[in-house]
């Protein structure tokens, strides 16, 4: 239907015309009504006007008091001249004009809108609190912008005003921009925001961190491993400051696993890295770093071997049966039988984290005496210099030869001293003594190199050099310094466990047995981060993010290789 509504506005003096197009024209006191009456005595939805078959109908809703021509009505068919009275408003149906189904004149009772004289006289301040919301709003806006933006901004951008404002006890400075305290490790920076935030509107740069942390290593090369998404990762991506509670080092394994699960496929699978999804169920068997002597016998390149590898053998060139030494019945020592335990040879280093290297003089020599002649049990050979052994033995036996029969019988080997003449031994006698001494030295050397003293612990090669002379080469010994350099293991927290919990030395008959605990051994106590009945362990409990075998952060990236080396 199409209605023309004429509204008296502005104290009823002005007439405004509005065209209504729709099915129903609604009148009530609610804001969604087509004709809104500002009178609470009028229901929110009061009545509806519709046009059916050219006739204007009025339908009164609910219990509204609507009067048509001064008579209470529940609905009516309206005609020009009819007057509807609702609360303070009046609707008059006037003669229809072209193109309109009906024309309504809408106006309100002026008398009810006027402020009564009595209201004026009593002056109740109904409509305000004596100050406006707008003024209050602007005041708060100015206050907040002044305190929270302007003053801290002056501190941030004006070096001259920085100190006076910061030292003032009243004025707020840029500390109110601080979203949380610094981690205790960074507290010495104090309140100098610009120490790290060097450029406004720019994130803290890694170079700023590296000013102090110059010796920190990379994790991996962003260029070599583009799949890892390390490109664009900043120090502050992980080391987040100003957080409450302050956690500068993230221990959560999720970040590690997000890259290392499927890391074996990186670079088309040419990397020797292995995928890890979680510690208890999807972690590769440990690998040990074994030094293997090269053919020149002077270099020991590192070979990584899995503890599950059937060919797992170390090659120290030593002979050492752990089982014999740890026999509960004891082992024959220099001063009788001794019952040995691990700690007799293996002692932690002063820091307590790793074990100090085992050494011959320190750990073996009390039993393994380097004697060579039963007639002289107090005499021992030097250790660690096999090339000196033969000369030492020759010297020893030469002396023995000299102090042999003649000296023992009290006869001088030299002619009687005469003035102007050096005392000299007869050349023939001298040659005879040396031959005797050398023969005895070689016999003894052959014995200790090939059957006794040296050969008990060492691999010794016998060589015949030109002229038919014999020499012996003791193969160089290489004890493993760190079996698992890619993990961080601290013996100290584990000291309440017996050594045998992890190292099954009593069952080892050969020095080339690798006695390092495997993954299953660790898992008897350690579980994943969500474990209910084991020690909850994160990646970072055993591994370092900043890898000691990687280059320094910020250094030339070319030094990184696909293989992480030993």
């Amino acid at each position: 239907m199409r209605l023309l509504v004429k509204k008296r506005v502005k104290d009823q003096s002005e007439l405004r015309e509005e065209t209504f197009l729709g099915r129903v024209l609604r009148l009530g006191s609610a804001t969604d009504q087509d004709l809104q009456v500002d009178d609470i005595s009028v229901p929110l939805s009061c009545c509806e006007f519709t046009v059916e078959a050219g006739r204007l109908n009025l339908k009164v809703l609910e219990r509204a008091r609507v009067f048509v021509n001064n008579k209470l009505s529940r609905g009516a068919v309206l005609k020009p001249g009819d007057v509807i009275h609702i609360g303070i408003c009046w609707v008059e149906v006037v003669e229809s004009v072209d193109n309109y189904d009906a024309v309504l004149l809408f106006f309100t009772d002026r008398r009810n809108q006027k402020t009564l004289e009595i209201q004026q006289r009593l002056k109740p301040k109904f409509d305000g609190m004596g100050f406006s919301k707008r003024k209050l709003a602007w005041s708060l806006v100015v206050l907040i912008l002044g305190v929270c933006v302007l003053l801290p901004g002056l501190v941030a951008f004006d070096p001259e005003l920085r100190e006076p404002i910061r030292t003032s006890s009243v004025l707020p400075d840029d500390s109110i921009w601080d979203s949380g305290p610094l981690h205790r490790a960074h507290r010495m920076i104090g309140d100098d925001c610009s120490a790290c935030h060097e450029v406004a509107f720019s994130r803290v740069q890694d170079t700023t961190c590296l000013n102090c942390h110059a010796q920190i290593n990379e994790h991996a090369s962003a260029e070599a491993f583009p799949e890892a998404g390390l490109d664009g990762v900043r120090c502050a991506t992980c080391h987040v400051e100003h957080h409450v509670p302050s956690v500068l080092v993230q221990r959560d394994s999720g970040g590690c696993v997000s890259c290392h699960q499927g890391v074996d496929a990186f670079k088309g699978g040419v990397s020797d890295l292995q995928s890890v999804a979680n510690f208890p169920d999807d972690h590769p068997e440990f690998k040990v770093s074994l030094p293997v002597m090269d053919t020149q016998r002077n270099r020991w390149p590192i070979k990584r071997v899995s503890l599950s590898d059937p060919d797992l053998k170390s090659s120290s060139n030593l002979k050492f049966p752990h089982d014999l030494h740890l026999d509960s019945g004891g082992i024959e020592g220099a001063a009788g039988r001794v019952v040995m335990n691990c700690g007799d040879c293996h002692q932690p280093d002063p820091g307590g984290a790793t074990m100090a290297p085992v050494g011959m003089e320190k750990d073996c020599s009390s039993c393994h005496l380097l004697t060579f002649d039963s007639g002289y049990p107090e005499r021992q050979l030097p250790h660690g210099a096999p090339e000196l052994l033969l000369p030492v033995l020759e010297e020893f036996y030469a002396k023995q030869t000299l102090v042999g029969e003649d000296l023992a019988a009290g006869r001088p080997l030299f002619p009687a001293e005469r003035p102007g003449r050096e005392p000299r031994m007869e050349a023939a006698l001298r040659a005879q003594a040396l031959v005797l001494a050398k023969r005895q030295a070689l016999a003894t050397a052959e014995d200790i190199f090939e059957r006794t003293t040296c050969a008990i612990c060492h691999q010794v090669d016998r060589k015949e050099v030109e002229g038919g002379e014999l020499t012996w080469e003791v193969l160089p010994v290489k004890l493993v310094d760190r079996w698992m350099p890619k993990s961080v293991f601290d013996h100290q927290p584990h000291k309440d466990q017996s050594c045998a919990t992890c190292h099954n030395a009593k069952a080892s008959a050969f020095a080339n047995d690798v006695l390092m605990p495997d993954l299953a051994n660790c898992k008897t106590c350690h579980g994943g981060p969500e474990s209910d009945n084991k020690i909850q362990s994160e990646c970072i409990d055993c591994h370092q993010f900043h890898h000691p075998q990687q280059g320094l952060m910020g250094a030339d990236l070319d030094q990184f290789t696909l293989s992480l080396g030993p």
Binding site: S45, N112, G130, L136, A137, P152, R203, T237, H243
Partner: protein, 289 residues
């Protein structure tokens, strides 16, 4: 039929707000981060951006409702969305904080936002109850009509009072003039009656519910020797009861309307304060990024 803003389009904005809240909570929980959840992560920035846009848009209602010729959604729809999305803002902004608070400009913005939202929810509660209380109190009459009734009572009392001696007449007219509706907003909120009456020999006395004047006139009536004077006094006393009733209704009307509006004195100014704090929050975060 009238449609409440709460039930607008069968709760269309309630559903949208619920979707927004669910998406926000799921995103927040879903994040796989190497660090604690905070406002500076991808989801954190997204939640913060949504919250900031919502804050500006929610404040824009004040502009939209004055824009009478706008066809950009009805004011009813805007109000409905304002209420539901404003409620959703509480959840979204809280997730944006990552539950990290401190004495700084960031928490200030959050607290001001909370004050605005909570005062708004109080407003919704008030709007759902008080209009019925107002119509119930005034029995469907507008306040102007109540004043018309009061004026009529005063006219009748004045007519009867004119029959009395000047001294009594003065006391009665003085009492009518010293009728108070509460000059301060606090008085209006509590419907406090501070009306006074000047009684000879006793000075300015309390006239709550016209009781001071009534007591005085009863004493006068007891001492009255003249039937005509007694009749006038009785008439006035009867009118005073009626007048007290009307005054009570006006005061209650003033109180209810004041309650209907008072929360806006928190809601609106603090909304602008929250916008200023929001600006300070965003500015400071990126200055010291």
């Amino acid at each position: 039929m009238f449609e409440s803003f709460l039930a607008y389009k069968s709760g269309r904005w309630l559903r949208w707000a619920a979707v927004l809240v669910v998406v926000a909570i799921v995103s927040y929980g879903w994040q796989d981060l190497p660090v604690d959840r905070n406002g500076g992560t991808l989801v954190g920035y997204a939640l913060g951006t949504i919250a900031a846009i919502l804050m500006v848009w929610l404040t824009w209602l004040g502009r939209r409702k004055r824009d009478y010729h706008s066809n950009f959604g009805s004011v009813l729809g805007w109000t409905s969305a304002h209420v539901y999305l404003g409620s959703a803002l509480v959840v979204i902004a809280t997730l944006h904080t990552g539950f990290q608070f401190g004495s700084n400009v960031h928490t200030l913005a959050y607290v001001l936002m909370l004050v605005v939202c909570l005062s708004g929810l109080y407003g919704v509660w008030v709007y759902s109850r008080y209009p019925y209380k107002i119509t119930g109190n005034s029995k469907g009459k507008m306040r102007n009509a109540l004043f018309e009734d009061l004026k009529e009572e005063d006219r009748q009392i004045g007519r009867l009072s004119a029959r009395l001696e000047d001294e009594d007449n003065k006391v009665i007219r003085g009492a009518l003039e010293r009728t108070e509706f509460g000059r301060t907003y606090l008085d209006q909120l509590m419907a406090k009656d501070r009306s006074k009456v000047q009684i000879p020999g006793r000075g300015l006395c309390d006239n709550k519910d016209m009781q001071g004047l009534a007591d005085h006139l009863v004493a006068q009536l007891q001492a009255s020797q003249s039937p005509a004077r007694s009749e006038a006094l009785q008439g006035i006393l009867s009118r005073l009861g009626q007048r007290a009733l009307i005054l009570g209704r006006i005061r209650e009307d003033v109180r209810l309307v004041a309650i209907l509006k008072v929360w806006l004195f928190v809601h609106v100014p603090v909304a602008f304060a929250a916008l200023a704090a929001l600006a300070a929050h965003i500015f400071s975060v990126f200055v010291y990024w």
